[in-house]
Amino acid sequence: MIKRTFLKALGATAIALASFVGTAQADDPTDLNIAIILSAGIESPWDGTLIDSLERVKAEKPHGLNLSWEYTDPLWGDDAGDAMALFAESGEYDIIWAHSTYSDQVKKLKDEYPEIMFVVVGSGNEGLGGNQYWVYKRVHEAAYALGVAAGKLTTSNTLGVVGSFPADDVNDEINAFFNGARSVNPDIKQKVAFIESWYDPAKAAEMTSAQIATGADIIFSLAANFQPCEEAGILCFANFGDQHEFSPTTVVSSALAFWDPDLNWIIDEWWANKSGGEAFDGNTEIKWFGIADGGAGIAPYYAMADKVPADVQAAVAETIDGIKSGAVNVELDVSAPASD
């Protein structure tokens, strides 16, 4: 009798527990909808690589979530703020990912929509904390590895970099590129120019031509115009996305940005809030994922492998391995670079 009563009680407890667990699982979100404010356009490496990463993360179904997203055309200032407000007001979006300097706009909205997670990206933002998270992308380690290749490949010992704006997360790459080159070739002279725009191929072409005229025989182009390199018959390195296709005969490799670890971090934080009931606790200091975390890398050489001697390829691979293992520590130098 006692045994039967005990078994009944055990069974009832098990059913109650199962139903409790079942209820908790049923309450967990199954969908995550993200609204994205783009800053330069889907065709730009900065924005395009985010969408590529989203596709990869979606396939992984983190926490079993079905990811979906909408993105805008490039928006800035009040227009971006209005778009964010509309996304928030619609009630359809769980995360508003503003893919550049938008903390001024987020500041006006974040307290009004405390259930929504806001994400801002890159330099120029303010760490607001709470439901604003601050993603940062540094690909300076990848730029350093490309610099190692450039330092070994150059014959004039003069390297050029054409940058967009002299911003913190642009300067770090440029300085790292030259530092990487100097790590294998101390005689390197550097030429730097900024087009002072996120996109102006004509100005980028002129800057590149000017650098070639000053003796640069390898260009690291952050402004994505390789035509002058083709005309001059010199090698180029590209930035942020694999840009081999744009100039298969000049682009040796590209520094790559992967947003996968950033997205997974943000999704984990969102999940902890929605499933675990933890309050949003956005970072007020920048947080970035490097090569060791899968946040950056370099593109394959493709057919350009023929132009990169085996010892150069080995030096680059060794650098990447060293960065991953911690044996190579790439200095983070965000000071404004200038030409020698």
Partner: protein, 309 residues
């Protein structure tokens, strides 16, 4: 600073100047015809943008730069037709129609561009290569600066005397200039004012479209939103700074381009001069020129004023 005056750098600065001049010169010398006819086309930026976009679509989908040139000119013609319809036929305020053209071009190119590249890597193309003119390109200094440029650059410079000749040495040019000074006189003579204004706008817009096409085919391998980056506006400023005279417009475009080229090289050479000063100089120079020209302006008297019989 001495590096700036080395032979290689000076040649690079001047060769760059000629390249930078090309798209602005096409637009400025073409729009000079339009403005001489009394139409103040403020839609130069948008027309140039459409030219660049049309050139991109055709070059990246067919691989033919010459088809792309025709497409740029055709898109310029279409924008010109629209501008002429608004200004000459509908007699809309020229500034408002120009702003409308710019907004339309910005929106349409972005919309079509997004559709064009959707779901695939952005297509690129091979643009014009430099063409060394046999014999002339071997001349020290001048050869590299003037005679190792792209074909459209030669055409842009050739258009300056052509337009000058048309405006100042032909009856058609005299009548066209009269359109901007005293259209009533032509009207009384029985000349179709509207038809002449259409033609003047079309000439300017086709050349502006060609300028946009060069911007694409000579400088870039892909289109980006708002790729003209203010060059159309600079063409308008060059006409004013050039006091509505072909030689003056050429000189103004030369000064703007030279300042930009120097700014580029100053930055690359890391001279102790903020390069931003040089970026602002073209605009500063144009303001100074405008102030100096006030007393002896050649601005057509009826420029921007719709003609009513």
């Amino acid at each position: 600073m001495s590096e700036l005056f080395s032979e290689a750098i000076l040649i690079s600065i001047l060769a760059g100047t000629v390249r930078i001049m090309t798209p602005i010169l096409f637009a400025a010398i073409g729009e000079l015809v339009t403005q001489r006819a009394g139409i103040w086309n403020m839609g130069v930026e948008g027309t140039m943008l459409m030219g660049a976009f049309a050139a991109y679509i055709v070059a990246s989908s067919t691989g033919s730069v010459w088809l792309a040139v025709w497409a740029a000119m055709a898109s310029g013609a279409l924008m010109g037709l629209l501008t002429a319809f608004m200004t000459a036929t509908m007699r809309v305020d020229h500034f408002i129609s120009g702003l409308g053209i710019n907004l339309l071009a910005g929106g349409l190119t972005l919309y079509w561009f997004r559709i064009y590249i959707k779901g695939r890597p952005q297509p690129t193309f091979d643009g014009f290569d430099s063409v060394a003119i046999p014999g002339l390109s071997a001349i020290p200094w001048l050869g590299e600066i003037l005679f190792t440029q792209r074909l459209l650059t030669y055409l842009a410079f050739a258009m300056v005397p052509v337009i000058w000749f048309l405006l100042y040495r032909t009856r058609w040019g005299l009548e066209l200039r009269c359109l901007g000074e005293n259209p009533k006189a032509l009207d009384i003579k029985g000349i179709n004012i509207v038809r002449r204004q259409y033609l003047a706008v079309m000439i300017g817009s086709v050349m502006t479209g060609l300028g946009g096409g060069f911007l694409m085919l000579g400088f870039s391998d892909r289109f980006l939103a708002d790729i003209t980056a203010g060059r159309g506006w600079l063409a308008v400023v060059a006409i004013i700074a050039g006091n509505w005279m072909p030689r003056g417009v050429l000189a103004a475009v030369l000064v703007f381009a030279l300042l930009e080229s120097v700014a580029t090289h100053v930055q690359v050479l890391s001279l102790n001069v903020p390069h931003q000063i040089f970026l602002a100089l073209p605009y500063l120079a144009s303001i100074l020129l405008l102030m100096g020209l006030r007393r002896k302006t050649n601005q057509p008297v009826k420029l921007g004023i719709p003609y009513f019989r």
